[in-house]
């Protein structure tokens, strides 16, 4: 096993991990705010990927160009989801919350399959293509740029949540929504904002993924599973946790696939989840 191969696996794992992290951060934000796990999260990612695809296929817009549009559309979708659906589910028992968002995911996935067939799609000539060579390591340009975009997104999110008044409002609502409300921070608006941001992140991840990943109705399922692992690993509600956990998962998946059977790499990630959740239920940075 050459050093190059291992290094290659590490780098591609980390880059993929950044995407997992960005997908996970939406999930963790929403949970941190309102303690609901969005079991339709993967389907929102799938929708983002398809949106980017259709912008390209029908309007000739490269994903990098349609990125802001997809992000806005996803953010709007998130807000609509909150006001239309989630707000009601919050009052229901946990079983109903799990099943409700699950049902939404099932419906979205089936609708995608109905409208766009199960065929795999790709964006065949994105603006960023080809490979970059660093030493003896090859990195796909789309993956590299995606990694950069993800990091930038995390930085922007971190800055927003810790340095702006609205962002601090989000944190306050997440920690104690009644106290925050008493201090004039509107809970409903914070929830909607959380959904907008969470889905916006998914929009970014989805658009960037469309530059090099296959696009099909079931694509969200695996990403969602890995996102759940990342959220549990990093700690429900922790942004930094999602980043680190995502990177770890990408790494474990990539190295596991290299050193063991590639088909078992998902098993390894799942074993990781179980190990974390059993021995350290609150994850790396979780609150409880």
């Amino acid at each position: 096993m050459s050093r190059e191969l291992i290094l290659q696996a590490i780098i591609s794992g980390l880059l993929m991990g950044l995407i997992y992290a960005l997908v996970a951060v939406g999930l963790t934000l929403i949970f941190g705010l309102m303690e609901i796990v969005n079991f339709a999260h993967g389907e929102f990612l799938m929708l983002a990927m398809f949106m980017a695809f259709w912008f390209w296929a029908l309007a000739g817009l490269d994903p990098l160009v349609s990125l802001p549009f997809v992000v806005v559309l996803l953010a709007v979708a998130g807000i609509l989801a909150h006001f239309g659906i989630i707000r009601r589910l919050l009052k229901a028992p946990m079983l109903a919350q799990v099943c409700g968002t699950f049902g939404l995911g099932v419906a979205l996935r089936a609708a995608a399959q109905f409208l766009w067939t199960p065929d795999f799609r790709t964006v065949t000539n994105p603006a960023i293509a080809g490979r970059v060579q660093i030493g003896s390591i090859f990195i796909g340009q789309p993956q590299l740029i995606t990694g950069g975009v993800c990091l930038l997104s995390f930085a922007a999110l971190w800055w927003f949540v810790t340095r702006t008044e609205t962002g601090l409002g989000l944190q306050a609502t997440a920690q104690d929504r009644q106290a925050a409300a008493v201090m004039g921070i509107p809970t409903e608006r914070m929830f909607a904002l959380g959904w907008a941001i969470g889905m916006g992140c998914v929009g970014i991840a989805g658009t960037m993924l469309s530059t090099f990943y296959y696009i099909f109705p079931d694509v969200g399922t695996n990403f969602a599973l890995l996102a759940f692992v990342a959220v549990a690993l990093g700690g429900f509600g922790s942004i930094a946790g999602s980043l680190l956990a995502g990177l770890l998962i990408g790494l474990v998946e990539s190295l596991g696939g290299l050193l063991l059977d590639p088909s078992y790499k998902t098993l390894i990630v799942f074993a990781l989840y179980l190990a974390v959740v059993i021995f350290r239920p609150q994850g790396l940075f979780g609150r409880f």
């Binding site: 079983l95 699950f102 049902g103 109905f114 098993l267 799942f270 959740v277």
Partner: protein, 335 residues
Amino acid sequence: MLKSALAENLWPRPPLWVGAFGAAALALLLAYPFIFTTPFAHHLMILILLYALMAQSWNVVAGFSGQISLGQAIFFGIGAYSSTVLFAKYGITPWAGLMVGMLLSALAAVAIGVPTLRLRGHYFAIATLLIGSSVQIVFQRWDWVGAASGLYVPIERASPWFYLQFHTSKVPYYYLALGAVAAGYFAVWKLRRSRLGFRLQAMRDDPDAAASLGIAIARHKVLAFMISAAMMSVAGTFYAQYVLVLDPERLFSAEISIIVLLMTVLGGSGTLWGPALGAAILVPLSEYSRIWFGGTGRTIDLILYGILILLVCMWRPSGILSLLEERIRRRAEIP
């Protein structure tokens, strides 16, 4: 008042019309294959019965005991594979295979449950999702059970009741399914108002209070999981003998785990007949949408399922039956 309360029946009597309805339904079920004689009608009802059993299994662990499992397909697959492997490789009758499947599923439930049931709701749900996916992957790579190609149940045309295969008609399958459902539902009917049943429901409603009243929570969670696993396993063995082909992709699919959940939530989680009601609604929906919409039917029914569940969860999380129950109680003017 105490004296009169003590003298009351242990459990409230259902109104007369419920009893009449039940009798009529029972008569219909018993005579069904002779009223509706097409193979499709038989197949439809067999599927409804099968899913009614599977949904009840989820009801036991989630509706009655509060543990949201998203991996019931694991036990379905274990049941199917146990009986088939024993039969295909060692010639053991599927009846014995049925028992072995139940045992193995119960053991699997312990193995999975002990480390994961201590997790809080969402974490446990996700864990079962992941384990379900993992088990599917394992079976798809395991050569001894046929890996991704799966297994065929060897065809035997003689001694159909010994080999549990019927090739001339589906009617025996129908009565077997009916028998399994009757047994399963009877067990749950007994469980619901038993010491164990009340403790499980207490655990569902408030684990801390339940613990303070002397209920060993961890043990009860695993027990509920085991019972539910055994029920699912029976369905799996039956299914294997019905379709005679095992495909790990289908058997361990998340779709099965999801559908039994959807059916129970729709019909009424935590009620005796909720799972059956859900199955009776969703199975025909699925089959007929496949007929009407052709190939895309597979997705239309899922779209409808998903939306239906979402609506139920948003407006009536306790399911359709709870609506009925409330009407009955209001009429009876409970003192």
